[in-house]
């Protein structure tokens, strides 16, 4: 069904239209928002389709498998696509407000659609080399968005992002070449059968290399340096999309590889992955405790949250995968929401540095409540989404007897709370260091609030009534493992 490739064709076409209409900003932004809405509608149709029909797939050029490139939209892919579409819509909406919008250079719209196209395609492709191609698309668009700022710090961020991600991409290319040489296949379903025939002594390091390449993309310890080096230079709309999508590309690929194609993974590999996950969690949250810039704090939290998702993958069970997917959905929504809250804080108080701001609880109670709910959700206070994510992971750790993993996961939750309390105390409770300060008024913030409230609504809904999503991710995990829910 042609619908299967819509998640990549719609944003690509929009990007093209936005490029063509470069000279007319009004037309461009109309194309852009129309494209985002079209993607959102596509994603919703796909969710309905996938929920009833298991998967929607298409082989490019109608070639018989495994000779053509197959695109398979399953529950995991469609969930992340829907999030991508939602975040894209919100961030384009946000672009109309005065809260830290991206510079209007004419390149923002095509590049952000390109980023979404690359990410969505990476979520749904069922071919290893094709996955690499879409990684590249996402990488180059992310680079473009980073360089948009035009300042020295933007170029510094761009360079670090580029070099480290390029190495990751090259490692991926090497891993794909080796996989192809060893198995003769690239299609996921065929690889799954072919890897069983290969000497495990050779397959194990190849799988390991593939895993490392995806870990670089997912910003896991010790490959995470690109993420905190670049995120804080981004304007709010780009940042929301980045935080919702970039690390998820790596996570999505890891789940597909380790639970689907290269299943069953070796015990050694999973133990190493768990080690990486635990270190990511701890080092990430310590980085957050160290920083004072809201965006840097949140960026480091992303690393720690990636650690949770990796830990769930390392559990290598269906419940673990379900937990990963649930956590990925939760983290995309909540982290984007927090970054957007950060932008509003910046807009009100004039700075991202916690030491220079304060008094927002008294001045802007509504924003305080929004931030608090997002922050509590990130920490994992019930009954918000973060709680269910952590609950799933910890329960599975305990079922498997991994008490150390569960303990670390819980302690990191405590440290996350500590650093969220820091933001709350400094930005909201503390009186503003400048006694003459009053929050800036006469700014156009309605689109910003509309976007952030939409996110909050989704987070609250999923937190208070998690059953549909839980069933969905359980089925998604089953699909990845080759079962039919």
């Amino acid at each position: 069904m042609i619908l299967a490739v819509a998640p990549l064709l719609v944003p690509l076409a929009t990007a093209l239209l936005c490029t063509v209409s470069y000279g007319s900003p009004r037309l461009q932004s109309r194309f852009s928002i129309a494209g985002a809405l079209a993607l959102l509608i596509t994603a919703i149709i796909l969710v309905i389709e996938v929920s009833s029909n298991h998967v929607v797939s298409l082989t490019a050029g109608n070639w018989p498998l495994p000779y053509g490139i197959e695109v398979v939209v399953d529950r995991l892919g469609v969930a992340l696509t829907l999030i991508a579409a939602l975040m894209l819509t919100i961030s384009l909406l946000w672009q109309n407000s005065d809260a830290d919008p991206a510079p209007t250079s004419g390149f923002f719209h095509p590049l952000i659609h390109g980023l979404v196209a690359g990410s969505c395609a990476a979520f749904i492709t069922a071919d290893l080399f094709n996955l690499y191609v879409w990684f590249e698309v996402a990488l180059i668009c992310a680079l473009g968005l980073l360089a948009q700022g035009g300042g020295l710090k933007h170029f510094d961020a761009t360079l670090k992002y580029f070099v480290l991600n390029l190495v990751g991409t090259l490692l991926l290319l090497a891993a794909i070449a080796l996989t192809y040489a060893a198995t003769g296949h690239l299609n996921f379903a065929n690889l799954r059968l072919a890897v069983q025939q290969v000497d495990p002594a050779v397959m194990l390091p190849i799988t390991g290399l593939l895993l490392i390449a995806f870990l670089v993309k997912a910003a896991a310890f010790p490959f995470f340096a690109w993420l905190p080096a670049s995120y804080h230079t981004l304007p709010a709309p780009s940042l929301a999309v980045f935080s919702a999508l970039l690390s998820k590309i790596g996570i999505c690929a890891l789940v597909r590889m380790l639970s689907g194609t290269f299943h069953p993974p070796s015990y050694l590999l999973m133990t190493l992955l768990a080690g990486i996950a635990l270190l990511s969690m701890v080092i990430g949250v310590l980085g957050a405790a160290y920083h004072w810039d809201i965006r840097r704090i949140l960026a480091f939290h992303s690393i720690s949250q990636v650690g949770y998702m990796l830990l769930a993958i390392a559990l290598s069970s269906r419940q673990g995968d379900a937990a990963t997917i649930f956590f990925a959905v939760h983290h995309s929504l909540v982290k984007a929401g927090l970054f957007l809250c950060g932008a509003l804080i910046f807009c009100m108080a004039g700075h991202y540095d916690l030491r220079r701001i304060g008094g927002l609880y008294a001045a802007r109670p509504f924003l305080s409540v929004i931030f608090l709910l997002f922050a509590l959700s990130l920490v994992g206070i019930p009954p918000l989404t973060g709680f269910w994510g952590k609950y799933l992971i910890i329960r599975e750790c305990l079922i498997q007897g991994q008490y150390l993993w569960a303990g670390v996961a819980l302690s990191v939750g405590g440290l996350t709370f500590y650093s969220m309390l820091k933001i709350w105390k400094e930005a909201f409770w503390k009186p503003h260091p400048d006694a003459t300060w009053s929050p800036t008024k006469e700014k156009k913030l309605a689109p910003a609030y509309a976007g952030i409230c939409t996110l909050l609504f989704v987070v609250l809904w999923l937190g208070l009534y998690p059953e549909p999503l839980l069933v969905f991710v359980n089925d998604a995990a089953m699909t990845i493992r080759g079962g039919i829910p």
Binding site: A15, F107, H185, A201, V202, P205, L269, Y290, L410, K430
Partner: protein, 757 residues
């Protein structure tokens, strides 16, 4: 009253009083009415998260009912008191909203039968407590107290979650009632020790037991109605509620009994000693609350039906006397402007009604006859005598009682009687009706139940039955023979009064012990809080040092190390490819590549470096040429040439820009660490490539492309057909990469252009 907002709120005061009171009163009256007609226990279920076996299974028995009455009843009075206490405060509405949410969360916690749902409400109460403690957040100390309360109870909450999940796994259910029913089946499970240990930590943090007790006195930063409600009457009892709930399942466990009794009595003693340190009335009350909480934990731990009844009675008695005393402290704060007991004497003259309330609450606290406190004390003594405790525990409990008598005397006598000799700025004044009614009602209720304990018999009986299922609630009789009990309590009273009279002397004596307090649990908490940023600085400076070369080094080194581990994991019995003699041209091309690569680290000039690097590219092209891929070789030649030419042009241009005066110190040529990393990375890859090339290749794909490209795709050049037909989707992606690359590069190019102008 210079704030316009403030005036506005105070103007609509009476209306908002009714408004704030509406929901709690409605709740309370409905509850009382409902409990009157509804035979207990009562339960029903609503599905919530069936896929995780988590549902709102509501279960109301005597213990829940008792808590429900305390939560809603005292809640009503707290709301009423709050409307008086916070009148004119511009953020009063926030407090009422948070208090209402808190009330609902508490109700949820005490009626849910599912451990996870209970945990959900438990955490909500912690968060709401945090927000309420930090209500006056302009002051740094209050912010710190709020943070402390949240971090301690929050961490405890995490442990509780762990404990609950473990319990659920051991018992196979999250339902508390099922868990109690199944307890004999898994009582010997070794994991139970850990599960209960974590539940204990959760309960102890919430109920301020040693060593987590110190947050409670600091939480007195909250407005007084909040302290009275959360930090005395309800929330801090939630931990004990949970323990009491689980008591029927585990009371036979030696571990259960010993830990609870030890921790409980130790907390009570520590708190009693700390009480004497304090001069602030509210903090004195806080410490004596902790002492009571300790006693409650001890009672839960004690086996037997008497202990269960004593727990239920003390729950009630404490709520009835401690909440009014907090209200009294609030009234003093409002009327006299201070809570320091040194500045408060002879207040009876100015605040007669507050003095009355304080008196009746205090005699209940001291356990004088005809009060409910007396009844509770009687039952506790009975329970202790049945439980054959260690002599040491009895002495400790006696000491705790003595101090509580002294505290009662402070509250009732010291503050309100005697001469007012302290010079004041303003004449102290009596609180308004809304602030007098609640303490008077509660103190009077205490008296009523003290005079007619039979009124409360059924409720306490049912509550005790929830903790000790063997108990028959109909046989509970709280009536007492006054004479023996008075004899028993006489010693406590006398010593308590003595303590009260020598309070200042004792205070000075105990002050010398402050060195011990400085090394107490609070200092551990502070140490952790101070160490954490230091550790964070260390780790972040190592891993996020801002230097790209180091990031790269870490990345490459980790890849090499991980791959080496995985290669070694197979036991090193590798299958090498068959060595064939290489044709001369291939060998030559390989030599070119190797020479180029080796030369890169002997050269420092960027331009030469580029040319040398180009050798690798040309070498690869040659290799392609001689291994049967001429078209690939051609592409590689073109790409490499363009790349070298373009980059060389840029470098030459940059040279003309270079500032000659800025001398960059020459880099060290040979760095052993880098060499080692590079060498191991290279070797690992070579080994991996060799191993893969030893495997037989599955030619299914290439064969198909070769066979079908002319037939189905009408093209003779297989590579082209692969690119534009078989794998056209890849090409679409690559074209997009080029297009987006152009868009991405444009701002950079534009910048250069603008600079040149």
């Amino acid at each position: 009253m210079d704030n316009p907002e403030q005036n506005q709120t105070s103007k609509k005061g009476p209306d908002s009083t009714l408004f704030h009171l509406a929901i709690p009163t409605l709740l309370f009256s409905c509850l009382v009415w409902w409990l009157f007609y509804q035979p207990l226990p009562w339960s029903f279920q609503i599905a919530w998260v069936p896929s995780l076996n988590i549902g709102f299974s509501v279960f109301v028995d005597g213990l829940s009912a008792q808590f429900l009455l305390m939560i809603s009843g005292i809640g009503c009075l707290v709301f009423l008191y709050g409307t008086g206490y916070l009148a004119g405060h511009k953020k009063a509405n926030h407090v009422f909203l948070l208090l209402l949410l808190f009330m609902l969360a508490m109700i949820g916690a005490v009626v849910s039968d599912n451990l996870i749902v209970l945990f959900v409400f438990w955490e909500l109460t912690s968060v709401l407590s945090f927000l309420l403690v930090g209500f006056n957040h302009e002051e740094e100390n209050n912010r710190k107290s709020a943070q402390q309360a949240m971090l301690i109870t929050g961490s405890g909450g995490l442990c509780l979650l762990l404990g609950c999940i473990l319990l659920g796994q051991i018992a196979g259910t999250y339902s508390i009632q099922l868990l109690i029913a199944r307890a004999p089946l898994f009582i010997n499970d070794p994991r139970l020790f850990w599960a209960l240990g974590f539940v204990f930590i959760g309960a102890f943090t919430k109920s301020a037991q040693f060593p987590f007790h110190f947050w409670l006195p600091n939480a007195m930063a909250a407005p007084t109605p909040v302290s009275a409600y959360l930090h005395s009457a309800t929330m801090v009892k939630l931990g004990i509620y949970l323990l009491a709930r689980l008591d029927p399942a585990f009371s036979d466990l030696f571990f259960w009994e010993v830990s609870l009794i030890t921790v409980g009595i130790f907390t009570a003693v520590i708190a009693a000693i700390q009480t004497i340190y304090e001069r602030d009335l509210k903090r004195i009350l806080a410490w004596s609350t902790i002492a009571t909480l300790g006693t409650l934990v001890m009672l839960v731990g004690m086996p037997g039906e008497g202990a269960a009844l004593a727990t239920a009675a003390l729950f009630f008695a404490h709520a009835l006397y401690k909440a009014p005393l907090f209200f009294v402290a609030g009234n003093l704060d409002h009327g006299a402007g201070t809570r320091q007991i040194d500045c408060l004497t002879g207040m009876r003259r100015y605040m007669p009604w507050t003095a009355t309330a304080a008196f009746f609450a205090a005699i209940s606290m001291a356990g004088l006859p005809l009060t409910f406190g007396f009844v509770a004390k009687d039952i506790i003594n009975l329970a202790k005598s049945q439980a054959n405790l260690l002599q040491l525990v009895s002495y400790a409990a006696f000491f705790v009682n003595v101090v509580s008598v002294a505290v009662a005397a402070i509250a009732a006598i010291h503050i309100f009687w005697g001469q007012d000799t302290i010079p004041r700025k303003a004449q102290p004044h009596e609180a308004n009706l809304r602030m007098l009614f609640p303490p008077l009602v509660l103190a009077a209720t205490g008296l009523l139940f003290g005079l007619r304990p039979a009124l409360i018999d059924p409720l306490l009986g049912l509550a005790a039955q929830s903790m000790a299922p063997g108990l028959d609630p109909n046989k509970v009789d709280l009536s007492y023979d006054a004479i023996p009990v008075i004899e028993a309590t006489f010693g406590t009273l006398a010593l308590g009064l003595f303590t009260y009279l020598r309070w200042d002397w004792l205070h000075n004596k105990f002050n010398r012990l402050q060195a011990i307090q400085k090394r107490g649990p609070e200092s551990w908490y502070n140490a952790v809080l101070e160490t954490l940023p230091l550790v964070a600085v260390r780790s972040t400076r190592v891993f996020q040092n801002g230097m790209l070369p180091r990031y790269l080094l870490t990345l490459i080194a980790t890849v090499a190390a991980l791959l080496a581990t995985l290669l070694a994991a197979s036991g090193l019995n590798w299958q090498w490819p068959e060595m064939e003699s290489l044709p001369f041209p291939v060998l030559g091309a390989s030599m070119v590549i190797a020479a180029g690569a080796l030369a890169t680290f002997r050269v420092s000039d960027h331009l030469i470096l580029l040319l040398v690097g180009g050798m690798v590219g040309y070498g690869s092209a040659l290799l392609f040429l001689f291994t049967g891929a001429p078209d690939l070789a051609l592409t590689q030649f073109v790409v490499e040439t363009i790349f070298v030419v373009v980059v060389a042009a840029v470098l030459v241009k940059l040279r003309s820009f270079r500032n000659e005066t800025a001398k960059v110190p020459p880099e060290k040529r040979f760095r052993p660490l880098h060499f080692l990393v590079a060498a191991s990375f290279g070797s690992v890859f070579v080994i991996l490539c060799l191993l893969v090339s030893a495997l037989p290749f599955d030619p299914a794909l290439t064969d198909f492309y070769g066979a079908r490209s002319l037939l189905d795709a009408n093209g003779r050049n297989v590579v082209n057909i692969i690119l534009v037909d078989f794998r056209a989707l890849d090409t679409l992606g690559e074209i997009s990469v080029l297009g987006f690359g152009l868009l991405a590069a444009y701002p950079l190019l534009k910048q250069i252009r603008e600079k040149r102008r």
